[in-house]
């Protein structure tokens, strides 16, 4: 467990970092960025894996299994959707992307 104040520092700095990164983003990127940050919190998969890896009761294992399923869905789905959206942002000379 991380000492209370150190955790507080990390929370604060991470919040500033996130805020500053987005601070001046153009409207055109709002939706892809929402999707991209959706992907990033897919890191919850790691937590779910740890929870399942430490589970010992049947109930705990079941809960962990569902959590890993959901976390994996978050990460993989977030990646694919973001990648598809961003793939379409290209400068002059790009060819039509995949059909909708």
């Amino acid at each position: 467990m991380i000492d209370g104040f150190v955790a507080l520092y990390i929370f604060m700095l991470a919040a500033f970092t996130g805020h500053e990164i987005i601070a001046r983003v153009p409207v055109i990127l709002h939706t892809p960025l929402m999707s991209g940050s959706n992907f990033v919190h897919g890191i919850v998969l790691v937590g779910a894996m740890i929870a399942l890896g430490h589970a010992t009761t049947p109930f705990g294992i079941g809960l962990g299994f569902v959590a890993v399923l959901l976390g994996a869905g978050n990460a993989a789905g977030g990646y694919v959707v973001t990648e598809r959206m961003l793939e379409m942002f290209k400068p002059s000379g790009g060819k039509p992307g995949d059909k909708a």
Partner: protein
């Protein structure tokens, strides 16, 4: 300290770094494409490292769950239509919230077991079914960790059920807005009850029934909070839940002592909150108005009278007008998305460009139903982004533009936003297309836009209406233009 945990820690550090760098790249159009790849590498590194953690059980189950989850999401994400992206984001975001809530639940239940072992005779109410055959070797959670774990679970559960409702609405499975009198009071009560149970969990009433009630109430609140919100406001709501999930992940990361989760979650939590505000601002609304307002209901009051009539034009004339113009601006709106007309529109624009016409696409920040909607569609059709102009850049150019082709846009070109103080869109900045020499509007009939109001532009002297479905009309324009050269 052996080398393996250190290596895993290093991998987590690398992942956090790559997430931040990836998001940074994603927030600039030039580098956006690479950004998701950086973040993806970070995720891969973190997941592989977790497999290598020394004290993990159930490795087979974990692998199975990861593979199934990844495969299902990958497949659905690949094959879904571009226009369905917002609901897919909602779905995946809900999954993340659910996972965070699940972690919270698992930790709470484990804590119940540990407490039972520590003071075996003081918890007679504990159901016997929670066998204590194998008790965690981990120490008890500190009060701070317990509190953050409960908070994360609450937020995660709300994000889970709320996102699923958002998904269902956008998918068209749940068409009506679900409104009843006293709704806000009920919602508030449910939230208070959920918080109350959370406080009980932290203050020594950590039993399985309380845990169960806590989760039911949290999920219920997410449901109730989202039901009354209209489909068109969903992108903002999804962005809010996205920030929620980020926070939930950060808090559960604290419980697990995992800094990568804390940092990634917190970065998303902060970035998502700001993004939500920016989105609401781009729609000229406040976040509170989106969540609790009743935008659609208020519209349709005492509308300004509009003089004149709509003057139709046929595709042949419209094509000729643009073929011999010097400058043409194309203004797409929600109708282009509905008609999936972007490919045809770009085909038409390319033909004009070949003839030497200077063509620009003019994009209003909230055209369509999600921020950047038009940009995504045009990019999909292959329109290079240097032909695409923001509202602020193109507005001064309309007086020098010969023809503006409005295709499926309505509210974003409605001059009443400037002239009629009673209009629900009064004050929203618009694309000043009326300043151009000629305006051609493609729409199916006299249908109103999102705000449900009349549009004086359609009755203006220099406006001609080209009625028809967006895709069909664009197709006609293309053929007429080709016929000109033949």
């Amino acid at each position: 300290m052996s080398w393996l945990p250190t290596l895993v820690q290093a991998c987590y550090f690398l992942a956090a770094l790559l997430f931040i760098l990836g998001l940074k790249r994603m927030s600039s159009p030039r580098t956006a494409r690479g950004g998701i790849v950086w973040a993806g590498v970070g995720m891969l590194v973190a997941v592989l490292a977790t497999f290598a953690l020394p004290d993990m059980h159930n490795r087979g189950l974990i692998l199975a769950a990861v593979l199934v989850g990844v495969a299902a999401a990958w497949w659905s994400g690949r094959r879904v239509a571009m226009t369905a992206m917002p609901q897919m984001v909602a779905l995946y975001n809900g999954m993340g919230g659910g996972a965070a809530a699940g972690i919270g639940a698992a930790e709470l239940v484990a804590q119940v077991q540990r407490t039972a072992v520590a003071v075996p005779d003081t918890s007679p109410l504990r159901p016997e079914s929670w066998a204590l055959d194998a008790v965690h070797q981990v120490a008890q959670l500190t009060p701070v960790a317990l509190g953050l774990g409960v908070l994360g679970a609450l937020i995660g559960a709300v994000s889970f059920s709320g996102s699923l409702v958002a998904f269902a609405k956008l998918q068209g499975w749940m068409d009506r807005r679900f409104v009843f009198p006293g709704q806000r009071v009920v919602n508030l009560l449910v939230l208070l009850l959920a918080v109350l149970h959370g406080v009980m969990l932290v203050t020594g009433h950590l039993t399985v029934p309380v845990i169960a009630a806590f989760f039911v109430l949290s999920l219920l609140f997410g449901l109730l909070m989202t039901l009354p919100i209209g489909g068109a406001d969903m992108p903002v709501v999804i962005s809010l839940y996205n920030a929620f999930t980020g926070l939930a992940v950060a808090f559960e990361g604290y419980v697990l002592g995992n800094e990568a989760m804390i940092i990634a979650g917190m970065v998303v939590g902060a970035a998502g909150t700001l993004l939500t505000q920016l989105m609401a601002k781009a729609m000229n609304r406040s976040l509170g108005n989106v969540l609790f307002g009743s935008f659609g209901a208020a519209a349709g009051g005492a509308a300004q009278e509009i003089a004149g009539a709509q003057k139709p034009i046929d595709a042949a004339d419209a094509a000729v007008m643009m073929a011999y113009a010097e400058r043409v601006a194309i203004v797409p709106g929600y109708g282009m998305a509905v008609a999936q007309a972007q490919h045809k529109v770009w085909e038409f624009a390319k033909l004009l460009i070949e003839r030497g016409v200077k063509v620009k696409f003019a994009i209003h920040p909230v055209a369509g139903r999600m921020p950047g909607h038009m940009n995504v569609l045009l990019a999909e059709a292959g329109v290079p982004y240097d032909l695409i102009e923001d509202m602020d850049d193109i507005n001064p150019e309309f007086p020098n533009t010969d023809v503006v082709l409005v295709i499926g846009a309505n509210d974003v070109v409605n001059p009443m936003a400037k002239t009629d103080p009673t209009s629900p869109i009064y004050g929203m900045p618009i694309l000043d297309v009326a300043a151009a020499k000629h305006v051609i509007v493609v729409k199916r009939g006299k249908g109103t836009g999102f705000a449900g109001i009349e549009n004086a532009l359609f009755y203006a002297d220099n406006t001609r209406m080209l009625y028809g479905d967006g895709q069909a009309a664009a197709g006609q324009l293309v053929s007429e233009l080709k016929a000109l050269d033949a």
